[in-house]
């Protein structure tokens, strides 16, 4: 079968089509990336769920390579921005420039920035100023860019993958909470294991390079991927599962009347009360359900299970939890908080 031919045309994709396509994309990306199975799965899940991904990893762990490989496998347009402290918003969104027409007349014309692509890689996004970082807000949330009063839609499917370097924090600008909240998942890329390192050395120090085959033809890829994304939204979430996700998100919020309002969380978590200054927003619950839907499809199901929600909880909630000073002094990270929350909420399954 031709690798570039869509499965079943994907006019009306089925659960099996989704899982098959997903696995094929995974396999193509793994041609360029050794290891990081979970990270790749979460990255693809975020893409099919219609979200954006924040990738955190130390230098040299293949962040840029991963994003490039994904772009090639999906056969979508791909742009990369290296965020620096002097980067301006217009460098991202584009700007109006004076162009000379054929008749010699000069007029303003919109020159699209790198944001106009299906896949945008924002490398080391925390090196840019908050003003520049915020230039991505509209693009990520509303799939559009407004320049000089004119709104320009972005081509679907649209995926922003921003990388964060947890080291060299000097001279960086931590992402504001509003920006962080717009990323569906946060994916961690750690150092590869020894065996994986050997494979990386073998595959990257030879003359031949990995050839990534696109899963869809370029012309059909956006539409086919959009249909698969719609299929994700069709996955059935029972009311009790939705309540479970809501309860989990509420459990990440500290018992603060200013934040929580009059109704406290039904599940009290000690670690949250001690170490969290702000918990997840409702976008966290959306991320939980959407991620769980992708997981269900990958498992060949049309319904979400509790375990699906639990499994996507770290990726969906960690970056939405703001820790306080006590957490930093006690060396408590968001991963531990989420683990505690999941552990506390699990018995409330009904």
């Amino acid at each position: 079968m031709n690798e570039t031919q869509p499965v079943n045309g994907l006019q009306t994709p089925t659960v099996a089509d989704f899982a098959g396509t997903f696995r094929r994309i995974q396999a193509e990306v793994h041609k360029a990336i050794v290891g990081h199975e979970q990270a790749i799965e979460e990255l693809l899940s975020a893409f099919f769920a219609g979200g954006h991904v924040l990738i955190e990893g130390v230098p040299g762990t293949g962040k840029t390579t991963l994003v490039k490989a994904l772009g090639l496998a999906l056969n979508l347009s791909f742009n990369r921005i290296q965020f620096t402290v002097d980067l301006m918003p217009a460098d991202i969104t584009g700007t109006r420039v004076i162009l000379s027409g054929a008749d010699g007349r000069r007029e303003f014309a919109f020159q699209p920035g790198p944001v106009f692509a299906h896949i945008l890689l924002g490398d080391e996004i925390n090196r840019a100023t908050p003003k520049t970082q915020s230039a991505l807000l509209e693009a990520m949330a509303e799939l559009q860019v407004t320049v000089a009063g004119v709104t320009y839609p972005l081509p679907p499917p649209y995926l922003v993958m921003a990388t964060l370097n947890p080291l060299e924090m000097e001279g960086t600008y931590p992402l504001p909470e509003a920006q962080l909240d717009r990323f569906l998942f946060k994916v961690r890329l750690g150092y590869p294991a020894e065996d994986e390192m050997v494979k990386i050395i073998g595959s990257t120090t030879r003359t031949e390079e990995a050839v990534i085959e696109p899963v869809f033809p370029a012309a059909e890829a956006p539409a086919a991927l959009e249909r698969l994304k719609r299929l994700v939204r069709e996955v059935i979430a029972a009311p009790q599962i939705e309540r479970y996700a809501a309860r989990m998100v509420r459990a990440t919020q500290p018992p603060n009347a200013h934040v929580m309002g009059e109704t406290p969380s039904t599940v009290a978590v000690d670690a949250v009360a001690r170490y969290v200054s702000f918990g997840s927003s409702p976008r966290g619950a959306q991320a939980l359900i959407l991620g769980a839907k992708v997981r269900a499809l990958l498992d060949g199901r049309a319904n979400i299970a509790y375990d699906d929600v639990d499994r996507v909880a770290p990726a969906a909630l960690e970056h939405r939890i703001m820790l306080n000073y006590a957490a930093h002094s006690d060396n408590v990270d968001a991963a531990r908080i989420v683990a505690e929350v999941v552990k506390a909420v699990r018995p409330t399954r009904s």
């Binding site: 089925t14 659960v15 299929l231 069709e234 996955v235 059935i236 979430a237 029972a238 009311p239 009790q240 599962i241 269900a296 498992d299 060949g300 199901r301 049309a302 319904n303 979400i304 299970a305 509790y306 375990d307 399954r349 009904s350």
Partner: protein
């Protein structure tokens, strides 16, 4: 259209299977409740029966109440557990999901079966779930028809049978302890100090078993009867005793009797307890103090060992005080009072010959039994007696330390050993006040003062 009908049929079959699972789960929950409650009731009843047989009434009342409350709480807990085990349709689906590893398929179908419009993937979900129906057959989800809780009453029953056998074996042993009525004990408590068992009575009250003792005992009992706590304690004892009798089906335990031998030679009333004492406290159940006028040893040779040689005098028959069996046992064990053996009194001049002026118990008779004879209001007046030497009063410093050997848990009162300190050369034994003539106009006043 036909496809929709087939989907509906499949959905109906899925729901029917969930309903069957629910029925089976609820049946088990009901069985659980029944069996556990039965086990609790059997266990509690057996425990109460054993407690009734082994404990004294007050302890039985307390422990029995605790056992009853505990049984009630356990029964309520069992009911709550059974309610938790019970399943509504959603919970039945959830349980089936977990046990058949269906990843929430049944719970989702159950939750959304009645709520159209449905997702485009709904037919897929129904078809997928229907394809897995063999995994959630009721017999697969819950193979048991009978709850394991049935073991609980069986185990409790076996335990009770074993306990009954053990008790029967114990009952055939020579020393049957509390199960057997205590034997009659005759003891001379004329020289004995008795601390009251009832905490309602004034602490450290001392009762000396002579004529005065009987009157003081009367006063104490009368005082105790007026106290609220004592009344309630008596009522509680009686209630517990009746309950014990009903539970065990036995007659009230016969009381031990102790034949008191007063060492007071002065008053004939000393040997006859006041009638109101006996009337106020007729012999009753164990634990209820009482005094009886009956004397099975009346007229027996040598039975009276009074110091004034009252043997053979029917008016000087020793009073019979009925004490609880345990207390009588305690008295006997302490050796504070030598058991009375008709015709075997060796403390006098010989068998059946009581030693005049020598109180039983080996005491030299320096004080105690004859003290205060002149202060008795009934004997205040009469011909004057010659003042004897050594009638001056004196004071004795006593070293006393608090003791934790108080009675508790219905045990007999602690009876401290009698300690006699020899008098120094400067001291003389106390003597009773001699009677003296009183002017007629002062007699009423004196009588009132001493009656107080």
């Amino acid at each position: 259209m036909a496809e929709n009908r087939r989907d509906e049929q499949k959905l109906w079959l899925i729901l029917f299977q969930i309903k069957a699972i629910r029925t089976r789960l609820n049946l088990l929950a009901i069985q659980y409740w029944l069996f556990i409650t039965l086990a609790i009731l059997i266990g509690a009843a057996a425990a109460i029966f054993v407690l009734a047989a082994l404990l004294n009434p007050l302890a039985f009342l307390i422990v029995g109440a605790i056992v009853s409350v505990a049984a009630l709480l356990l029964a309520m807990r069992a009911a709550r557990a059974a309610l938790r085990q019970g399943a509504n349709p959603t919970r039945a689906a959830l349980i089936a999901d977990e046990r058949a590893d269906l990843k929430g398929r049944l719970a989702t179908v159950m939750a959304l079966a009645e709520t159209p419009p449905r997702s485009a993937l709904w037919p897929y979900l129904v078809e997928d779930t229907y394809g897995l129906r063999s995994r959630f057959e009721p017999a697969q989800i819950e193979p048991r028809w009978v709850s394991r809780a049935i073991l609980a009453p069986i185990v409790v029953g076996f335990a009770i049978v074993a306990l009954t056998a053990a008790l029967r074996f114990y009952a055939h042993l020579p020393s049957r302890g509390a199960l057997a009525p205590p034997p009659d004990i005759t003891a001379d408590i004329g020289d004995l100090e008795v601390l009251p068992d009832d905490p309602a009575v004034k602490p450290n009250g001392r009762v000396v078993a002579d004529a005065k003792t009987l009157r003081q005992l009367e006063a104490k009992i009368a005082q105790a009867k007026q106290g609220r706590v004592s009344n309630w304690m008596d009522k509680a004892r009686k209630l517990a005793g009746n309950l014990q009798d009903q539970v065990t089906g036995r007659n009230p335990l016969p009381l031990s009797t102790i034949h008191l031998k007063s060492s007071n030679p002065a008053s004939p009333n000393a040997l006859n307890p006041p009638p109101q004492l006996a009337q106020a406290h007729p012999p009753g159940r164990a634990g209820a103090p009482g005094v009886s006028h009956s004397n099975p040893n009346a007229g027996a040779p040598g039975q009276s060992a009074n110091s004034n040689g009252a043997a053979g005098n029917p008016d000087r028959q020793p009073p019979v005080v009925a004490l609880p069996g345990e207390q009588a046992d305690q008295l006997a064990q302490n050796g504070a009072a030598a058991p009375y053996q008709p015709g075997a009194d060796k403390r006098g001049g010989g068998a059946g010959e009581p030693a005049a002026g020598t109180p039983l118990g080996g005491d030299s008779g320096g004080g105690g039994s004859s003290h205060g004879a002149g202060s008795d209001p009934a004997h205040l007046f009469g011909p004057p007696e010659a003042q004897e030497l050594g009638s001056d009063s004196f004071k004795i410093a006593i070293d006393a330390v608090p003791s934790d050997e108080a009675s508790s848990k219905g045990a007999p009162a602690y009876i401290p050993p009698k300690v006699r300190v020899p008098l120094s050369s400067q001291q003389f034994p106390d003597e009773p006040l001699a009677r003296a003539a009183a002017p007629p106009e002062d007699q009423m006043t004196l009588k009132k003062v001493f009656e107080r």
